[in-house]
Subunit: 357 residues, 2 copies
Amino acid sequence: MIIQKTSNSRIGEFDPENIGFGTAFIDHMIVCEYENGKWGEVRLMPYGPLPFTPAMMGVNYGQACFEGMKAYKDKDGEVYLFRPEKNFERINKSAKRLAMPEITEEMFIGGLKALVDMDRNWIPYGEGKSLYIRPLIFATEEALKARIANKYMFAIVATPVQSYYTEPVSVKISDFYSRAASGGVGSAKAAGNYAASFYPTKLAAEEGYEQIIWTDDATHKYFEESGTMNVFVRINDTIYTPPTSEKILDGVTRDSFLQLAKHRGIDVKVEPVEVAKVLEAHSKEELIEVWGVGTAVVTSVFKAIGYKDQKLTLPELSEEESFALTLKKALVDIQTNKAEDPFGWRVKVEKHILETA
Amino acid sequence: MIIQKTSNSRIGEFDPENIGFGTAFIDHMIVCEYENGKWGEVRLMPYGPLPFTPAMMGVNYGQACFEGMKAYKDKDGEVYLFRPEKNFERINKSAKRLAMPEITEEMFIGGLKALVDMDRNWIPYGEGKSLYIRPLIFATEEALKARIANKYMFAIVATPVQSYYTEPVSVKISDFYSRAASGGVGSAKAAGNYAASFYPTKLAAEEGYEQIIWTDDATHKYFEESGTMNVFVRINDTIYTPPTSEKILDGVTRDSFLQLAKHRGIDVKVEPVEVAKVLEAHSKEELIEVWGVGTAVVTSVFKAIGYKDQKLTLPELSEEESFALTLKKALVDIQTNKAEDPFGWRVKVEKHILETA
Ligand SMILES: Cc1ncc(COP(=O)(O)O)c(C=O)c1O
Ligand SMILES: Cc1ncc(COP(=O)(O)O)c(C=O)c1O
């Protein structure tokens, strides 16, 4: 690894009590370039602009995929990643589906640890606070032909974040727009999937909904995901979530929720979730909770669900009654080293990795 | 418009007899930035790198769309664009679907004409030669939250091209992968659509096919497009092409072919094209031609079509017998000012636009 430390740290301007989301970047970033069929050496360097022309294939043809993960600080100032090997596997799955070169574990895990260690002072401590980390791969070759690129960049950038207490939101079940095609790229964290979701989400917002529950594009009869989260439904005391497929992202939070729920003896069913079944459960007052899960907010609880002209209201539950909130707390406690980690999910970031390497 | 002429022209290195595709860029480019809810002034400046960080939203969330068009030189050295208002309409349609700001006609058409005029010496003359022009809009804001960006760049870059004589190709009818979801972004020239198509195309190439005929993602029973082209099928003496929809790009070449065919009294049907109907026509020896159309190669003639384990061979036709080649010639003759233009499609690029403006 080539190390180029900043001589101009911006940490003095950083106020951990006053954090936005995703706009103040830590001092350094990881960069690695692919050319002539192979990845070069990983560089840890000051965060900042690099020279790219508008002919860069990444913005022309969308050959770009990313990951989203966090580093957490505990009360003693120790720093942890959460299941980083899952994100490593997933970025390579995404890269493969987009015909991009896969990266090595050393680039990904090694790069992550070096960056997080170097800028550990940027990681805020306290409830809901963490360092949001964005590994990404994108095509950098300049060419105007729609074909697989020959040059890429792998980068890791990061920003301190705070999830403020998130109010329950209203979500709309999509009956026209969709996120993923059968035989498409829905299970990849492909850049283009996100841009495609913005306009439908904006339309939903105009109707008073914060998010969309995406349904299958062919029939709109089955739940897929919610916003940029996996979706869970609780009917009576059973939790349902759709199986992952080539249309549904294999979320790390989803998998962790499933394991935590089983561990606690909650009845969990991974099976297709029919819109009609959810509506019917609601009419019988058996629909107890619906929520989304993902790295950014961990859990987003839904207070109302829109479907065509109806708006179904969901019961307000206390933290003890709510599976969503109970599981959220259990997960966050593991992530932030407030609880035992029976699953071996936490990965400690050792200090002075680069000096001792 | 702010004009910044290069003091370092690269045209001396440019050999119009020896042109690649899409890797040598003309001296200048157009750039215009969007911030605080509005577009700034258009700049014509030397082609080259600009500073962007890996946190640029365009590569993270794929908020990026583009156009592809050409400028042609005639024997007297006059330069023409082809139906540029169609590309202008379409880039704004794409921008809208991706929740990006639309651009003005002055930015698009004015920018195009100024750039093409300034670098008119880069436009090669001769059969199949032209200047390929790439207008694009992409999100430039640095932020790690999946939301509509607040900063964008509109740019136009261009490269001299030559379509060498293109051999007829073999294409594979997709029965698993797909290009577009119902309620998705297939009708937009969204960056992400292209990346999504590379891996399936690579798999098809491994089976000996140059392109894929994309079918509807739900049933794979209907033709949609072919590669990055619209698709035409000729059964006996009738031409079929699927209607445009939210899944199919509204191609300028497609529309021009339809108008030219009608003008010549060819029987044209714009209706869903069923895979089964094409196979049946082939078994009755009534399937005469299948081809793709788009700006880059104008027409790509198919010599064989793969479907599951079958490979259907198509007849070899002379230029006179082939509707694909007859219509291609008619179109190219209009584009390059070798024929009358009854449709008013050619738009001349006047000289010294900037001096006289
Ligand atoms: C589309 C989509 N679904 C689900 C998720 C949740 O995945 P994870 O729990 O790994 O963050 C994400 C990412 O956050 C996502 O982008
Ligand atoms: C997906 C797709 N279909 C069709 C076309 C053909 O459109 P046009 O004739 O406007 O070039 C293109 C662009 O070239 C395309 O990208």
